[in-house]
Symmetry: C2
Subunit: 344 residues, 2 copies
């Protein structure tokens, strides 16, 4: 039974365990600094499929298969799967997961989807609505470019503020508390924030205010400062959004988040010095793959003890941009903690 603390935050008293996570990525991501952390790096971004959309579905299928394997579970053990992606009508999820036979809850939060799905899966396990619940999402550079910008063949140029949609998927398996597993302690579901940014090539700037608000909500509700967290891990603000996020947090909410306690999945996934990714990574698969590999491993071994994953989403579409609209954004946060039995 969830416990409301403050206005916007839910605490999960049963401490649902993250039994396992899996992350699978494409070629470029596999050449980045986290290459050794992923469960699988595909040497060909088509994954042998006949379209990029089908490749994205395959990424999601692969992430779920591996996560279940690592947790020692079968698809039939899962009571619910929370899944979504960036493709129109979320076909990465529906086609990727159609053969598992797991009750399917489609969610949409753009690049905030991993935190949204984790928060809901945590709620479901905590509330006894699922003994085992999965959270999964994906993105694919090529399917996203075709859908949101231009087919790759056009060779379109992107400005320096643009980010690279990660070819990646991540899946987490949640179940009842286990003392030697990381656990979900709380979730803050975000409100929509729209400060009027209209540049779809600068999502970091559009999403930073939503991230700042959700982090401020969480800390206010928890009655704690940023030092209560080992890491605030934003989803994919990239280089531009990261700077803005820390500035806004300080200016608008009086919260001084030191650089050492903040990391952004969009900056962790690639090496911007040597990889041509402009302002960093983005896409649902960005935070999903970073969280379910590098971060979960650090939580498992106790190198990190309290991580607030704050995934951010830009809730626009091509149509809304063409119609001159600004970009409504949202950030969802989940607090994930190291195992109780771990070393301090």
């Amino acid at each position: 039974m969830a416990q409301r603390i403050g206005r916007y935050t839910l605490r999960f008293p049963s401490h649902p365990a993250v039994l396992a996570g899996a992350a699978v990525v494409g070629t470029t991501e596999g050449e980045g600094p986290l290459r050794a952390e992923f469960d699988r790096v595909f040497p060909d971004d088509t994954l042998g499929e006949s379209s990029f959309e089908k490749a994205e579905s395959a990424l999601q299928r692969e992430a779920v298969t591996l996560a279940l394997e690592k947790a020692g579970k079968r698809p039939r053990d899962a009571d619910l799967i929370f899944a979504g992606d960036l493709l129109n009508q979320c076909i990465g999820s529906s086609f990727g997961l159609r053969d598992f036979g797991i009750p399917f809850v489609g969610v949409y939060g753009a690049c905030s989807t991993m935190a949204l799905a984790l928060g809901l899966a945590g709620l479901a396990v905590d509330a006894n609505a699922a003994r085992l619940a999965l959270a999964v999402t994906s993105s694919h550079f090529c399917s996203a470019e075709r859908q949101f910008r231009q087919p790759l063949e056009y060779g379109g140029q992107r400005p320096p503020t643009a980010q690279r949609t990660a070819t990646a998927a991540g899946a987490s398996v949640l179940g009842a508390h286990e003392p030697d597993k990381p656990y979900l302690a709380a979730a803050t579901f975000g409100r929509i924030v729209d400060l009027g940014v209209q540049d779809a090539n600068n999502m970091g700037a559009a999403m930073a205010p939503a991230a700042a608000r959700t982090v401020a909500d969480f800390l206010h509700d928890a009655g704690a400062g940023p030092d209560s967290l080992d890491l605030v891990l934003t989803g994919d603000l990239g280089a531009v959004g990261t700077a803005l996020f820390r500035t806004l947090l300080n200016k608008d909410y009086g919260i001084a988040l030191s650089e050492t306690r903040h990391a952004d999945c969009g900056l962790l996934l690639y090496d911007r010095e040597t990889q041509d990714v402009h302002a960093g990574g983005s896409g649902c698969g960005c935070s999903a793959s970073v969280f379910n590999s590098h971060i979960l491993r650090q939580l498992q071994c106790g190198a990190l003890r309290r991580v607030l994953l704050v995934a951010t989403g830009a809730l626009l579409s091509q149509t809304s941009t063409l119609q001159g609209e600004s970009i409504p954004c949202v950030a969802h946060a989940v607090l994930v903690c190291a195992p109780e039995n771990g070393k301090e």
Copy 2:
């Protein structure tokens, strides 16, 4: 705290109340048999907006505003809103709801969205994750035609098996149990079913197997026959899907659902004799508007006592159809009951 019964069904022991529902519709829907039941019929399908997408957002905004008003609540009283729609990246919801400041959980279930959102909102209230939770969805004939088929100006013809996307939105306000309000007793989240139907102009045929499976799951889990329900209310199977649904339920699951205990929102919304709607209504707004008007009223007065709303969704996109894919479908069900204090 939810109680799992059987393999797929959740019972909500606290009986979350449906405090109010609101339904707003466009011109054609306002000329149909339910015209007197809606909270608002717009005489102009643009709602005075400059695009059909903005009109759809306005529908959703209006439905939420009216539902909150009818429940005697303000937006700030709501802890969560579960919302989604058919537009790419669900912009009907994100733009329609961005000004309410309610923590926003985007969901995607195509035309199954109303039942999906209701089930999650019920779970949230039952689990104490929200004191007040909203469920809302919308669709718009003109935005859907442009996105999924052709702009209206092309004057495209549709085959008799096609359905008309409803211009409509519906919103429900859920809160803690109240003995004189209808309540959510249970939910069954569906599994994806894909029998290989590829005709995007015959969604009823594609979705019927998903509806049959979810109804069979629910009845099996509840250990009851169809006579335990006053009404099985499918979302939008239309004329073709309705016939198939009852046949499949009988043939595949041995469940004889009499015609008097079954209704389909897609057939209730329009008068197919006098209105040019082919096989009936569809779209997220179809079941949302029928449930939140006609059906909720009958539950409120006790004319119906136990209604299983089974909204069905076709989880395809234009891209998946162009790539020769079949149509994965899902059906989510919620059991809504008449007030405890009502007359038998």
